[in-house]
């Protein structure tokens, strides 16, 4: 039982830090609420988010490398990314996307290229955090414990 307690505390501390550092916002909490009746929901949505995001990042890189950059196309991809990151509560990614859209509007290529790097950076950071979180959940369940519910 002691190990479950330790893992649960680790989980709570970790997730609190993620909120505190702005990686996750209330929307993630909303997702977790849906988890209560079907524990794989967060895992499913987060996995979809990862797959979708990596596609978008590749599309963005390709679009920005063209001879004549279609900023409307770039903006469209960023809009998608902003939407999905917002829906999972990946706040820092969403904010990076907002800044990115401004550069698209200004048709500022250098700004856009820098923003892509920034968005990628934030995305891989939150991906790492979420994977750690999901792993912790698995460990708690494997040890026979229940995942703490946050309010």
């Amino acid at each position: 039982m002691e190990i479950i307690g330790k893992l649960q505390k680790q989980f709570i501390d970790f997730i609190k830090a993620l909120y505190h550092e702005g990686f996750l916002d209330d929307q993630f909490l909303q997702l977790k609420l849906q988890d209560e009746s079907s524990p794989d929901f967060v895992f499913e949505v987060v996995t979809l988010f990862f797959e979708d995001s990596e596609k978008i990042i590749n599309n963005l890189a390709a679009t920005l490398q063209q001879q004549v950059v279609d900023f409307k196309q770039v903006d469209s991809h960023v809009h998608q990314f902003k939407g999905s990151s917002s829906s999972v509560g990946a706040q820092r990614v969403t904010n990076a996307c907002i800044a990115f859209r401004n550069f698209c509007e200004q048709k500022n290529l250098e700004g856009c290229v820098q923003c892509l790097q920034h968005v990628k950076h934030e995305y891989f950071l939150v991906k790492n955090k979420l994977e750690t979180l999901l792993r912790l959940e698995q460990q708690i369940l494997a040890a026979g414990g229940t995942i703490p519910v946050l309010s």
């Binding site: 929307q27 909303q30 997702l31 609420l33 849906q34 009746s37 929901f41 499913e44 949505v45 979809l48 988010f49 979708d52 469209s76 809009h79 998608q80 902003k82 939407g83 999905s84 917002s86 829906s87 999972v88 509560g89």
Partner: protein, 145 residues
């Protein structure tokens, strides 16, 4: 004529339209949790096809065989926006009374007004929360009550 009769034991059938994969998954889950039967479509054209309003389909009197009780659609979609989809639905004699809800991540008053004026039941801000869908569900029940 009551196409959308649904007793309290039946689950309302909602058509959810959104080009974003993650959002589609989320709205589907939120609706299912609120005891709705859900069909999703990834764009306006697919939605119209499902509703029997596709370009190649005959607009028969027996349309809405799928018995959709509500349509919830994203505003910003490639090809056909949610607003354009709303208009097409309202133009249809069979489907004009089906409540249509528009969702958007952007809080633009003129956009909201435009949709409400065109007959949208509600405008909701994304990302959707459980409480949003609960509220929607209550409204839907009142519509049919």
């Amino acid at each position: 004529m009551d196409f959308y009769a649904s007793s309290s034991t039946e689950e309302p059938h909602v058509l959810a339209v959104d080009d974003n994969l993650v959002d589609r998954k989320l709205v589907e889950r939120l609706l299912k949790k609120s005891s709705c039967k859900v069909t999703t479509a990834e764009n306006g054209l697919r939605a119209l096809e499902y509703l029997g309003l596709g370009a190649d389909q005959e607009h028969s009197i027996n349309g809405n065989d799928s018995q959709v009780n509500m349509i919830i659609t994203d505003y910003c979609m490639p090809g056909m926006t949610g607003y354009e989809l709303l208009k097409k639905i309202k133009e249809s004699s069979i489907l004009k009374d089906v409540p249509v809800v528009i969702m958007s991540s952007e809080n633009i008053p003129t956009r909201i007004d435009q949709c409400l004026e065109e007959g949208a039941q509600m405008f909701m801000l994304k990302p959707l929360k459980h409480s949003d869908v609960k509220r929607l569900r209550c409204q839907l029940m009142q519509c049919q009550g």
